[in-house]
């Protein structure tokens, strides 16, 4: 034992994964005594997680990126956890979002200790995906994330939720297995599973060899399923729409985000920019896949009447932008993509939370039912409108910062088709959110009493905390936009290394 403070700092990154996975068992054990203990345990665990994530983040800011050898086995044979300018902020994002969702779920649920155990398990999986530096370990964390998400989607208790969850499970498992298949190809080609080691051995194998190309294809398709790019998104609208409000907010904010982050790591820490230079076809295909996703996702969102489905298709479109920006392999675009990744997580979580508040208190679920809602629930509607405009890309909010940086990158790279796609997507985003805001503020409700009556009476009351969280997220979305340059400065050293 050396100084305990120093050990805590050194071990914070492994505790981020090890602590919540063990602590996730506590609510289940306590559930034997009382079914109401889960919330407080989850609140404590997620607050500790925030402290650990902040410790890692501060360490990265003070001394630069560092890695941790799990079990003392040196990489490339041992598993490595990596904290750097990209993974550390994302770890903080995951922990803070968890705190917010736990606070939000206190009143409307889902209640029960299993829910909180599953939520903590999901947080573990997400933190693991972000922190790991080993491609097989990444598969395991992807599956932990997956398993916890399937269980959470089904916590809605309805058969529809179970069906949505099973659909997600089948498609998600195939996606993760394809990723594993791809990892198998890379392992056959190089004999290593460590990301850093892979990136240095792949050039000697040759980027254009069938083994590496097949591995790339399988990995990209597998992760695209998890990110929910069109046409691999089919699990996503059902899963978001059928799960309880707190769950859809959490998974929409973080699950696809973690998968997109994994794609970023694999593209640049494993395959590197040289791969794209050697195999431009792979790059073109990825840009094409993402661009189609941007446009089709937005068009499908415009066509939806159910609000949660509209937000789900909006995610398909926004992740298209994120992946397209990753694929053009330009430093500015990648920075923009990471900013948009973080920004989208905050904004989409806030939108789902606001929709949850309005659905619970006023029974409004479709765009039609939102008529005049701006005057019946002014605070939540205001926050919803701010978040919607932020996602459209109105300055100074974070949505603007992300999209603007991506656009700059696309112009720098001379990717004119993609530039057009991103501008079009902004217009389409305005189309579906503009329609909503118009309904909220400028349409007289057809029958003011009707939408309340259809709710069936005894709606559980919305707590003050839920409204406060929605407002807080809206404020965060704007504040993040103002400090976006700091965010870019944190990401920059990591991305610079990939282009060195």
């Amino acid at each position: 034992m050396i100084e305990p403070i120093a050990t805590l700092q050194e071990n914070a990154i492994v505790l981020l994964v090890a602590f919540p996975i063990v602590a996730a068992l506590v609510p289940i054990v306590l559930g034997l005594l009382s079914d109401r203990t889960g919330w407080i345990v989850a609140a404590i665990i997620s607050l500790v997680q925030v402290a650990l994530a902040l410790t890692v983040f501060r360490q990265v800011q003070a001394t630069g990126p560092f890695s941790y050898e799990v079990g003392g086995f040196a990489p490339p044979f041992g598993i490595e956890l990596i904290a750097d300018g990209v993974s550390a902020p994302l770890l903080v994002l995951i922990a803070v979002t968890t705190v917010g969702v736990v606070a939000y779920a206190h009143r409307i649920g889902p209640h029960g200790n299993e829910f909180y155990s599953e939520l903590m398990l999901l947080m573990t999986g997400l933190s693991g995906v972000v922190a790991t530096g080993d491609v097989f370990n990444l598969y395991v964390f992807l599956e932990i994330t997956g398993l916890a998400t399937y269980a959470l989607v089904a916590s809605g208790r309805s058969p529809e939720a179970a069906l949505a969850s099973l659909k997600y499970l089948l498609i998600g498992t195939i996606g993760a297995s394809l990723y594993l298949f791809g990892v198998g190809y890379l392992y056959l080609a190089t004999g290593t599973l460590n990301m850093a080691d892979l990136s240095s051995s792949l050039p000697s194998v040759g980027y254009a060899t069938p083994l590496v190309l097949t591995g790339f294809g399988l990995i990209v398709v597998g992760l695209s399923v998890k990110v929910a790019l069109f046409p691999l998104h089919t699990w996503q609208p059902d899963a978001y729409a059928e799960s309880p409000h707190a769950v859809s907010a959490y998974i929409s904010a973080l699950v696809s985000t973690a998968a997109a982050y994994a794609l970023f790591r694999l593209l640049y820490a494993v395959f590197t920019v040289d791969f794209f230079a050697a195999v431009p076809f792979a790059q073109d295909m990825l840009v094409l896949l993402a661009s189609v996703s941007v446009v089709v996702g937005a068009v499908l969102a415009v066509m939806q009447s159910d609000l949660k489905r509209m937000l789900a298709y909006s995610s398909v479109s926004q992740f298209g932008i994120v992946v397209a920006a990753l694929a053009i392999a330009n430093e500015t675009a990648i920075l923009g993509s990471l900013v948009h990744l973080v920004g989208h997580a905050v904004m989409k979580a806030g939108l789902f939370l606001a929709v949850g508040v309005l659905a619970t208190s006023l029974g409004a679920r479709t765009v039609e039912e939102y008529a005049g809602i701006g005057y019946r629930a002014p605070v939540t509607s205001g926050a919803l409108a701010v978040l919607a405009f932020s996602l459209v890309g109105v300055p100074p909010a974070i949505g603007f910062a992300g999209k603007w940086t991506i656009l700059l990158g696309a112009v720098e790279a001379g990717a004119w088709a993609l530039t057009a796609v991103i501008v079009t997507s902004t217009l389409l985003t305005l189309a579906y959110f503009g329609r909503l805001v118009e309904k909220m503020y400028f349409t007289e409700p057809a029958d003011a009493a009707e939408s309340v009556a259809t709710d069936g009476g005894v709606a559980p009351d919305v707590s003050f905390a839920m409204r406060a969280i929605v407002v807080l997220v809206a404020v965060t979305a704007v504040a993040l936009g103002i400090v976006a340059t700091d965010l870019i400065a944190t990401f920059e050293p990591v991305v610079e290394v990939y282009f060195a």
Binding site: L169, T173, Y187
Partner: protein
Amino acid sequence: MIDLLATHHVYLAAILLVGIGLYVVVGSPNLVKKVIGMNVFQVGIFLFFVTSGYVDGAGPPVVGHGSGPLSSPLPHVLILTAIVVGVSLTAVALALIVRIYDGYGSLDEDVIKEVRVND
């Protein structure tokens, strides 16, 4: 072609399993069969991994167990983990199927679709 079959038959078996599994997941309307298809699909990938560590006539890489070619135990260990993941997934899937059957009274995707439309 014959030569390829003789030397790479395990890879062909793996690809066949993956193909059959995917076909069952997509083609069968029965939810339980879909889960079985998912398992077959995963087994194909497991087989692919496990064979990659196999060397003809090789010994285990343990000190004192002879020299000559050694086979790598790493893929086997990885797949052990993946099998555990697969079992958990199957368990969750079957639990969900029980709930779906309780709700709709059927395991047939087409029947469930009809029930949902009629509701």
